[in-house]
Amino acid sequence: MSEPERRRKQNKDKAFFDYTMLFIVLFLLCFGLVMLYSVSSYESSLDFGDSAYYLKKQAQATLVGIVLMFVVMMVDYHFWRKFAIPAYIVSALLVLLVLTPLGYEVNGAKRWLNIGISVQPAEAAKVGMIIFFAAYVCRIGKNVQTLKGVVRTLLLGVPISALVLFITQNLSSAIIIFGIIFMMVFVSTPNYKEYFLLGIGLVAVAAVFVILVQKGVLTSEQSYRFGRIEAWLNPEAYAGTKGFQTLQALYAIGSGELFGKGLGQSMQKLGFVPEAQNDMVFSIICEELGLFGAFMVLLMFILLIWRFLVVANNAEDMFGALIVVGVMAHISLQVILNVAVVTNTIPNTGITLPFISYGGSAVVFLLIEIGLVFSVSRRIRLKNPVKNQGTEG
């Protein structure tokens, strides 16, 4: 071995690589594919004559995503800072492109772009927003800690959320995008009281809506979203219509017992839970693997989020840390909201479970985000290399 080679190797050894996170991500991806096949094989063999139809498409997207993840990982994340403003503009344009002939409808909602491959612009916008706001918060520096700075930052998030909400009719993505920004701002500022009050205010507004729906002032005739609140309040009363999906998901969860019916043994996936491979995959996990399996899946997500916390807290600089916070916000929001929908804790809105639900765009952009986190983690300077030998590999 030549001298330069040896040096390079030494450098590599010193570099931190978060194998724990890699393992968790790969585990979730593989587990997701297994569950996707179990959940979707019945429906896909009926609809497409091929039980692995969904599995194949998802596996392709996952492979593409893993390649992109490694590419992004190898690139110094500071590179993206230069593209912060273009990221914002491109995100907005992509959403607007839905209105052009490139956009197309699936299940009555125009959320998709066909540019050779199908892309959901809202998913791209999430990555764009994470980069843009990480850069923006770094840019305004201490100003973010002023009320004006907070308001201005949040207001910058409003247009893109509004585009997603009104153009693609995608409330859940809008909530998540705004939630990501909100959490990034929350971390960047030292205050608590204001957020606490804001939180109370949001809950109060939501409560008012719920009460109005309950009183019959707002009905499903005004907006289907109010209908979803009606179904949420009393799924049995709408068992055949709005509450059907939720109720069938609850049946699946409730029939799983502690250890479930066994992998592949779900009965509810046989045409009863609509979109079982998509938003409702967690309910089938509960049915097949039981409460124990569901807790294990949630534990994997908690471990992943914990890794994000570690990486963010040890990041080389604030930009890197904020990127990780954004990714952490994204994934945790999506897991929490998905499980909350499936368990009818909140009204039904289409949110997928990261890494497990079917959806090519989602998994590709998620893996790009994971790539960004790896990129940040690779630049962590180890204070005590000996102590961390285990994770060094």
């Binding site: 770094c138 500022t189 799983g256």
Partner: protein, 769 residues
């Protein structure tokens, strides 16, 4: 500090930020914890309920495959009861409401573009589908035949042509059909409700006929592929009966002719209260024909047209007209007629035709809660009339046998050696028993009678003497040996139990013995009488009467052979031979002369029993006969309950009916004529030849149709049969009968034709030899 860039603007992720991030993490953890609790709570609070819900939803995915009910065929393979595949149309509202309801209109168009008889109108069905979006199983058309359903079936199969035809599927089931309508209705019975046999063979052999339903399940196999597995239905087994459709037709034809002839003759109503005929093979106990009157259509057993529905008088004053209109049979609901025929003791619902005199049997008087309204009273009366119609007179109704019991009395004395056959009796027209004077049927007395003369003339006084000679204990021992008071266990539903309708030897007084010696005072069923009589003339073997001879499975393999079963020996061969001799002379010399069909020698015994209450002029007249006289191959028992004539006590009504039946049945059974025909008889037969040829032609064409049915079951259609009948009748020339064999003669060749096959036969070969 960045290794590769020396940037003064680099900002650190500050301690306060790290702290807030940790707080955020904790908040996220709290949310996860909350969701975990929620998952646990769902399982704890609703787990059981949801588990049941999941299972109950699954039933939709398994479809019952109904088993085919077994057929009932006659001894020649002619189908009397068949099950035809029919289809129910099912609608799945959930699917039809899916995809913004775009399938609804095209599907409704496709459905109502057919000849299917739907239970709903198009608008009703549409309303139902829209207002019941979760319903996945609704039967919208029932029991549609293949011809009607096949256009829809084709459309459902062609998905490419009809992409929007969804949410409809077909479920097959079976419909019971009786190609011969009312033929042998008492023996066959019908099917009601959920494949449940009612009356006759359908009820007695229900478990054999019904089979086991199969099921089709959808499930995911180990490779996660959707698979359907079918547990095939176990089809019911087919009953091969000893009934001969042709003999049965002949019997029913003549019963009907008798009742039509005497209809409204003396009182309003049918020619008799009931007329029953059984033809049996004395050497096996097999029943060849069993019929009574009136009959009902097995394909429509609840049809009340022509039924006499008697509503209690207290309800008849009101609403009569309403009901008449509702039922559409204004004549039938008239309750004023036939008051005479419905006196006490002749209850329609009870088993007894008469209650025996001198015994303590009380007619069962079932007190039912009085219905409230006329409609309810009418409904009760209707069910009562239907039940009376459905019951099998030959096994369910009991009556006093009268003189047809006399051979039983005689055989008992002969068997015990009390009689030698050389006894003589003196009849003065009356005999005093105890404190009673019991009259002979001949009030002036028969005078001096020989042993066989007593039977020939059916002298009551002579038989009272015989009864006294036998004594009550021996008499009752033989009464029981002949199976009276016990069930014959014939394989039909509804056999009456007569154990309380016979005398108890310990309480029998001399009068009881006297009247029972000539068959009055105790009750019997027709099946008991004919089964007992068979043993008297076949060498003494009491065969269990039966209808089913073989049970075969769906593939045609025999599952069970029901062999003739000798229950007991009633009399010896010698006694039996003597009884044949004696009964032969009844027909050749005595009261049974009129029962003899031209060209044949037969034996038998007449009966005329006065009904209870006495002295009202109501009688049961009967004839028990067998043919041929020297080697009995069939036994026939004809009972006419209360003939609709001015003067009833004449066995002639029964003997003439018997003769009419035998005149056709014996040639059909290949029994050759042995007796010289008088010119008168020849002329009579020639006259009958015309009708016989027609009926023979009819029989032929029916047989042909049935054999076609064997090949192509699905095209079993009544209209085809009618059509063929007409064709056959046109083509068939009118045949004369050969006076020796009774077979039709081909007018062109002069050859004697077999009435079964239509082929010339060699007259020297007989089936009976």
């Amino acid at each position: 500090m960045g290794r590769n860039r020396k940037n003064i603007n680099v900002q650190k992720f500050t301690g306060s930020m790290q702290k807030k991030l940790t707080v955020l993490f904790l908040l996220i953890l709290a949310a996860f914890f909350g969701l975990t609790i929620r998952l646990y709570a769902i399982n704890r609070d609703n787990g059981e309920e949801y588990k049941k819900q999941v299972l109950s939803q699954q039933e939709y995915d398994s479809i019952a495959l109904p088993a085919k009910r077994g057929e009932i065929i006659d001894r020649n393979g002619t189908k009397i009861a068949v099950s035809q595949k029919v289809y129910n149309v099912i609608v799945d509202s959930k699917t039809l409401n899916g995809d913004e309801g775009k399938y609804l209109e095209p599907t409704l168009n496709a459905l109502f573009d057919t000849d299917i008889q739907f239970l709903y109108t198009r608008d009703e069905l549409k309303d139902f589908i829209i207002s019941n979006p979760t319903s996945q199983y609704r039967i919208v058309a029932k029991k549609q035949e293949y011809e009607v359903i096949s256009p829809l079936m084709e459309k459902l199969g062609d998905k490419a042509e009809n992409p929007n035809l969804k949410g409809v599927w077909l479920e097959n089931t079976y419909q019971r059909e009786y190609p011969y309508g009312s033929l042998a209705c008492d023996v066959i019975g019908f099917v009601q409700g959920d494949n449940e046999g009612a009356y006759g063979l359908e009820e007695y052999y229900n478990t054999t006929l019904v089979g086991t339903d199969g099921r089709e399940y959808g499930y995911l196999n180990d490779d996660e592929n959707l698979e359907r597995t079918i547990k095939a239905p176990d089809n019911g087994k087919t009953l091969v009966t000893s009934i001969d459709v042709n003999i049965q037709s002949i019997v029913e034809k003549h019963i009907l002719a008798f009742n039509k002839e005497h209809e409204n003759e003396y009182r309003e109503g049918a020619g008799s209260k009931n007329t029953g005929v059984i033809i049996m093979n004395p050497n096996t106990g097999e029943i060849l024909a069993m019929a009574s009157y009136p009959v009902y259509d097995l394909n429509n057993p609840r049809d009340i047209t022509g039924l006499d529905i008697k509503v209690d008088e207290e309800y008849t004053t009101q609403g009569n007209i309403d009901i008449d209109i509702a039922e559409g049979s204004s004549d039938d609901a008239d309750t004023s007629d036939d008051a005479e025929g419905d006196e006490a003791g002749d209850s329609v619902s009870g088993n007894s035709v008469t209650a025996p005199a001198g015994s303590d049997i009380v007619e069962e008087n079932i007190e039912v809660d009085k219905p409230k309204t006329y409609e309810e009273a009418y409904e009760d009366a209707k069910m009562e009339a239907l039940n009376a119609l459905w019951k099998n007179f030959c096994i369910t109704s009991t009556y006093e046998p009268g003189s047809t019991y006399k051979p039983f009395t005689m055989a008992a004395g002969l068997e015990e050696g009390i009689f030698t056959g050389n006894e003589s009796f003196n009849c003065t027209g009356v005999k005093e028993v105890g404190d009673h004077e019991i009259h002979c049927n001949n009030r002036f007395g028969h005078g001096q009678l020989t042993f066989s003369g007593a039977l020939e003339q059916s002298c009551n006084v002579a038989f009272m003497d015989m009864g006294a000679m036998i004594g009550k204990s021996l008499f009752m021992k033989y009464n029981k040996l002949y199976n009276f008071g016990l069930k014959t266990n014939v394989d039909l539903t509804g056999e009456a139990l007569t154990n309380t309708l016979v005398f108890d030897v310990n309480r029998m007084v001399p009068t009881d013995l006297a009247i029972s010696s000539f068959g009055q005072g105790f009750n019997v069923t027709m099946i008991q009488m004919i089964s007992g009589f068979c043993s008297l003339i076949n060498g003494g073997n009491y065969y269990q009467p039966h209808v089913v001879t073989r049970i075969i499975n769906d593939d045609g393999a025999t599952v069970q052979n029901i062999e003739p079963r000798v229950i007991k020996q009633t009399v010896s061969k010698e006694t039996s031979d003597k009884m044949v001799e004696l009964c032969n002379s009844v027909v050749s010399e005595g009261t049974g002369k009129t029962a003899r069909p031209a060209g044949y020698r037969i034996g038998g015994k007449t009966g005329t029993a006065e009904k209870y209450p006495r002295k009202t002029g109501n009688y049961v007249v009967s004839f028990m006969g067998y043919a041929p006289a020297d080697d009995p191959q069939i036994v026939i028992y004809t009972v006419i309950d209360t003939p609709n004539v001015e003067s009833q006590p004449h066995a002639r009504y029964a003997t003439l009916l018997t003769r009419d039946i035998l005149t056709e049945v014996l040639p059909y059974m290949h029994v050759f004529m042995t007796e010289e025909l008088t010119d008168e008889e020849k002329a009579e037969l020639d006259e009958a030849a015309l009708t016989f040829a027609q009926s023979a032609g009819k029989t032929l064409s029916e047989n042909e149709t049935v054999s076609e049915n064997d090949i192509e079951e699905e095209t079993n259609d009544d209209s085809v049969i009618v059509f063929e009948e007409q064709e056959a009748e046109k083509e068939k020339p009118e045949y004369k009968l050969d006076p020796v064999t009774g077979y039709p003669i081909d007018p062109e060749t002069g050859a004697v034709l077999d009435p079964d096959t239509g082929q010339p036969v060699d007259p020297t070969i007989s089936d009976l030899e």
